[in-house]
Symmetry: C2
């Protein structure tokens, strides 16, 4: 048996490999709702037919120019001013965030994150061997005051200062909260004062069920201290693997140089260009938002019926409910029992960069329809009652 | 002006961003010959039509099972025994190599490479902040005796031992040499004895013009010490961005966990599955090989006419000529002068991990047709004569 000499980072095993038992209902991934996946046969045929050389040859490292221009146009609706040279096309926002880490982060550097935060971002950061500076959230979102106090303390102690902040300011994954405009302004001011970059991950922004949109942090940035990470994974289809980073031209160029695989696949970009130009993307987002609002409502109702002990605040958009079980509950054990009942949920632990309070669940309502959502929550309710009957804590 | 605090690796600027002046003939990239790029309209329509959910949803992290099975079948023809669990689908072989680096390499680790070696592999390794243990090549390819001596010396000095070896054993990029069977066996024996992994990058293997194939190093591996890096970039189309790593099941699983972007794009995989199942890939390779042989011959002839001082050995396959100019020639200066004449060539320096002898050029005959190859070499000949007339060294 060969003993391989792995690097430290390779001990990090993420949460992305799922093997579902047949019949299991999955609430553990923000995957797309299959009935609404777009039909792109015409666009794909055009991409590889009319644009054969573009589609089949190595693509430009920064992405297709038309794709970069359409992205500028798409984000302009949110008040983000970007030119082509500010845009790097990537394989989704996760790939973009990894490239930002490659450009800025050295091992043992600190990255500012919320506690909890997006589980796959934690995975990516861990592969860079980082430490976390974790910050809480309240009903206004990111607690800038806590961040400021922590930065002051680091500075006073002459500690190395963080270079990056990662956050999901709209319909936060997993918590669901949206950071207020005032807090966003404070975040930018802190980024400028302490010279770190904010990676604003905003996949859910357009999936808003109620209330008024708040400008993206990137729209408040005048000094290049914000990198906006975008994707069509939540607005069109994850399988397209088209995302982007928008930032300072020199920064995104350096990110491009960290791509190991040259230009990203151009024919997926050409499909997205067509869907953006024809404005099919807007119609799709509108339909999807109605569907997701309904899923959220169904899940909230089902929780009230089947798990009345669980507390969850209805998010104003996005794909997830963040569920608090009574203090002391071992949510991981509830998830394990859920597997036997035929439901896959995510324990909150996966979303905590540091200590896990232990009694949270992240439930995605994006992937399965209303009937399955009801059945899944009923099964989770059974699992929870089994947990309690077994004389477990809480 | 914001002063960004970049990580060390971000100082590495690769060679992959090209801006060609109009009319310039490019010999500097192993891009595909456009007239032979495959028509995949039918396959693409099937991929997003009949397989809509597969194409549009997040893909499996390891790749589509059918894709992994087809890859096993494809490499079986070379004597490589692989099962589905040995195969990870990636965005091309470069992406696969980067993942291998992520799994094994710590900063300042040594990687064994030939001098010269594949320029983009050098770029990828540099982003991992590695050191190079560089080994020469002769007419039998990789100099195992030199490697053994260097490993012994490291061991005797209690130095950290390398964990990875990167090589292109068939039609080496850039040199063109093919490593003999005996040397391949010695490489495997050394990998086993010193417990390092061989990353065998084999994109050109099937583009053989003459002579008999030699088994891949992977076919000689019984202990999991070889990771075979494959791709359809050279056999079908680079734009598909479909490649793979074949290795020990636990190793490729760890490589998958280092993917920042989840599963690779499934609809490109579905296109490739169809092209492999229908055996269109074999017909395509056959046609492409004839075309590339012709390109090689035209370039060799043109060199003899326009640059008789240049020495190049006709490779038995692959995409490149490795051209030696008279000792003392500053090949980088010749390349610069070539730009003014309307030809883009690659100076050998880009292919040297450490010291560059200075008088080499890498010329790709893959991308442009015979007329342009002749014109490009004539222009390079003009550049070279200008160089000599300017009383430069050599």
């Amino acid at each position: 048996m060969t003993e391989f000499r792995f690097a430290r980072r390779s001990a990090i095993l993420g949460s992305s490999v799922f093997d579902h038992a047949p019949g299991t209902i999955s609430l553990n991934s923000g995957a797309a709702y299959p009935p609404l996946l777009p039909d792109v046969v015409r666009e794909a045929a055009a991409a590889v037919g009319q644009h054969r050389e573009e589609a089949m040859q190595y693509g430009p490292l920064m992405g297709l120019n038309e794709m970069r221009d359409e992205i500028c146009h798409f984000v302009a609706a949110d008040g983000v001013v970007a030119k082509r040279h500010n845009v790097l096309v990537t394989y989704g926002a996760k790939n973009a965030f990894d490239l930002a880490c490659r450009v800025f982060v050295e091992p043992n550097d600190r990255i500012i994150v919320t506690r909890p935060t997006y589980m796959t971002a934690i995975h990516i950061m861990r592969t860079h061997n980082v430490r976390f500076l974790d910050i809480g959230q309240d009903e206004d979102g990111f607690c800038t005051r806590e961040l400021e106090a922590k930065l002051r303390r680091l500075e006073a102690n002459a500690e190395p200062m963080p270079k990056l902040l990662f956050d999901v300011p709209d319909f936060h994954n997993p918590v669901g909260v949206t950071t207020s405009l005032a807090r966003r302004q404070e975040m930018v001011a802190l980024a400028q004062r302490y010279n770190f970059l904010i990676c604003e991950d905003d996949p859910y922004r357009r999936i808003r069920f109620e209330g008024d949109a708040i400008p993206p942090i990137k729209a408040l940035d005048t000094t290049g201290h914000v990198i906006s990470l975008g994707t069509v994974s939540k607005t069109l289809a994850p399988g397209l693997r088209v995302g982007w980073a928008i930032g300072d031209a020199g920064v995104v160029r350096r990110m491009a140089m960290q791509k190991a695989d040259g230009g990203s696949n151009t024919f997926a970009q050409r499909i997205v260009v067509q869907l953006m130009r024809s404005n099919r993307i807007s119609h799709h987002i509108s339909e999807l938002t109605d569907q997701m609002r309904h899923h959220r409502d169904v899940m909230m109702e089902a929780l009230a019926v089947h798990m009345p002990e669980a507390k969850a605040k209805a998010p104003l958009g996005g794909y997830f409910l963040w569920v608090e079980l009574p203090e002391g509950t071992d949510a991981e054990r509830v998830v394990e029992l859920g597997v036997f009942e035929g439901v896959d949920a995510s324990a909150g632990r996966l979303s905590f960069p540091t200590d896990d309070p232990g009694n949270f669940l992240r439930l995605a309502y994006s992937f399965v329809g209303e009937d399955k959502i009801r059945r899944a929550i009923a099964r989770l309710g059974v699992a929870y009652r089994r947990y309690k009957q077994a004389d477990n804590p809480a």
